[in-house]
Amino acid sequence: MDGGKSVTTAMQAGKLPVERRGVISRRLSGILEPYLYVSPALILIIAVMLMPLVLGLSYAFRDIRILNPFSGGFVGTAHFQTLITDDAFLGALVNTAWWTFGSLLFQFTLGLILALLLNRDFLGRRLVQALVFLPWAVPTFLSGLNWAWMFNPVVGPLPHWFTALGLMETPFNILSDPDLAMWGPIVANIWFGIPFFAITLLAALQSIPKELYEAAAIDGATTRQQFISITLPFLAPTIAITLMLRTIWIANFADLIVVMTNGGPADSTQIVASYIFTQAFRRLDFGYASAIAAVLLVLLLAYALGVIALRRAMTHADS
């Protein structure tokens, strides 16, 4: 009896501090807990992305040339004034639009078709899915080099195939033709980017309830009508967000161009992102490069906000 009693008191005594600790932590932890979870990411992003961004933006108003010891002073908006009259920059802007939307159109269309094909059950689907997603895992500069190699008539098969198809009179390297050069990196980019759209769209497709198609079929909808009235509306949110994200990524994505053409020939493949690279690391003019980057950032922000506003307007019109 006695022993049992002392055990219970000991247990109660042991229990008390636990409850005390609870008292202090509950309110506070209720408020602080989410921030605690977010803090590592937030610290990293602020330290490695936001602070450098602010620093980088400040460079846009300074004269920073690596090899010039007298540089470093404030130049106000001089860089931006130069920018307005910089033909190379204006050409790069046009090329960026061309590069971005050319890549995006094919990546998206082919990615959607691939997702639709993979959404059917067929023999060997798992293997096929693994294989067609593979290009996404290939390091971009390696695929750039490889594609440059394949476009070269000496060591690559592509020009010979184009000739056989009657697209070319004699095999030549499109990467050295100012009118066609942009197609080189675009094709490489399409190859690299299809899996991204296919993966996200396939995931969205698989989340559409099967009953909807059954109901539509019973209502007499043809396959095409089902696609338009069920598939597309369900995919719309995914399409909107992935298109926006990819637009921004591709516009910023200079690796393939730097590796394959380095902006040439005659600046015909120079996009803004690769122009920044050239200014910063070939001419070592960080001030001017930062000014260009700032303009690009503003343009992309404006684009993103425009898309979001458009989407909001459309969803409001729906409801």
Binding site: E19, G22, V23, R26, R27, G30
Partner: protein, 370 residues
């Protein structure tokens, strides 16, 4: 086991109050059912007892200790979820022993407890299975088992039967009830199903719009509903309501004059004044079919609904739909007129304005919650 006291508990999200000053004392070992339509705050109240929602103001204590500031894990309660919330990556045995393992209970003790509970619930053969390989009813049992194994201070149930089919639900109702008698554990059970409330509860707590409307035993709630809401929510088929004016006739008989001019005699209602607008409430079984020519109020037949044991006759009276319960097998033609009579002793008079019941003067005074 322990009692649970809730005093003036308030829950608000920003400026919106979802629970307004809840007061409720739950006795040690009692089976309490919180019932009400969805959005009435019953689940929120349960989750506040569990510690899954903060208490905006007021206090909740379990076994005499205020638990407002305690984490769910420190409240020593067990909960059965509507979705069962079984851990998909653990076997049945692991699911049931998880809480004990966390409390560093000795291995042999855990094994004993699991064997024992599995036997009670008929899960012995399923102990090594994953939840995925179980039927809905079996999952429900595992969820129960997980709660029972812990021997907690109190059990909380959040609509645990609503994902089962009707037959299984009926069976589990009885089983939970039997388990409760066996374990004698304080239980708080949330449901929107008034039949579950009626059949399972020691006391029912009827809730609406974040306010407790009435607390009482099932029979009390059924026979003496505090207001129109409780009267209409409890009971199936539901109570009939007819608007009219309270009348005191010359020979001191009291009654209600319906809008079509017919007169329904009722017991004198406490606090009712002549010509006051009132609502007559009559359960379907308290309306009788009167054979032709013997008085009663004429009503037009709209539908005959055979229920097996009984038949439900839908009629139209003074433009209102009225349902009548009968054990006979009436063969009225639709659109024919029949005569009906209200059981004067059993019908209720409600103040139309306040919606409160005006009890007969003969009924003893009782303390009313809410």
């Amino acid at each position: 086991m322990a009692s649970i006291e809730i005093s003036n508990a308030v829950k608000s999200y920003g400026a919106v109050d979802v629970l307004h000053g809840i007061d409720l004392d739950i006795q040690d070992g009692e089976f309490i059912v919180l019932v009400g339509p969805s959005g009435c705050g019953k689940s929120t109240l349960l989750r506040m007892i569990a510690g899954l929602e903060d208490i905006t103001s007021g206090a909740i204590s379990i076994g005499g200790t205020v638990v407002n500031e305690l984490q769910p894990k420190d409240r020593d309660i067990a909960m059965v979820f509507q979705s069962y919330a079984l851990y998909p990556h653990m076997s049945v045995a692991e699911n049931m022993s998880y809480a004990l393992t966390l409390r560093k209970t000795a291995k042999e003790k855990i094994a004993d407890a699991i064997t024992n509970v599995a036997e009670i619930l008929g899960l012995t053969a399923l102990l090594e299975r994953r939840p995925k390989a179980l039927s809905g009813g079996q999952r429900q049992r595992v969820a129960m088992g997980r709660a029972i194994v812990r021997k907690p201070q109190a059990f909380l149930f959040d609509e645990p039967l609503s994902n089962l089919d009707a037959r299984l639900r009926e069976q589990m109702r009885t089983e939970i009830r039997k388990l409760h008698r066996r374990l004698g554990a304080t239980s708080v059970y949330v449901t929107h199903d008034q039949i579950e409330a009626m059949t399972m509860a020691d006391r029912i707590v009827a809730m609406h719009d974040g306010i407790i409307q009435q607390v009482g035993s099932p029979v009390e709630i059924y026979d003496r509903p505090a207001n129109i809401f409780v009267a209409s929510f409890i009971g199936s088929p539901a109570m009939n309501f007819l608007k009219g004016a309270y009348e005191i006739a010359q020979n001191d008989t009291t009654g209600i004059r319906l809008t079509d001019g017919s007169f329904v005699p009722v017991l004198p209602a406490r606090g009712a004044t002549a010509n006051q607008t009132v609502t007559l409430g009559a359960r379907p079984e308290h309306i009788a079919l009167v054979p032709d020519g013997n008085g009663g109020i004429p009503a037009r037949v709209e539908l005959i609904e055979p229920m097996g044991l009984s038949t439900l006759v839908h009629v139209s009276l003074a433009g209102n739909p009225v349902k009548i319960f009968t054990l006979d097998r009436p063969d009225f033609a639709v659109d024919s007129f029949i005569h009906i009579a209200f059981d004067m002793e059993k019908v209720h008079v409600f103040d139309t304005q306040t919606e409160l019941r005006l009890p007969p003067e003969s009924e003893p005074h009782m303390a009313r919650t809410a």
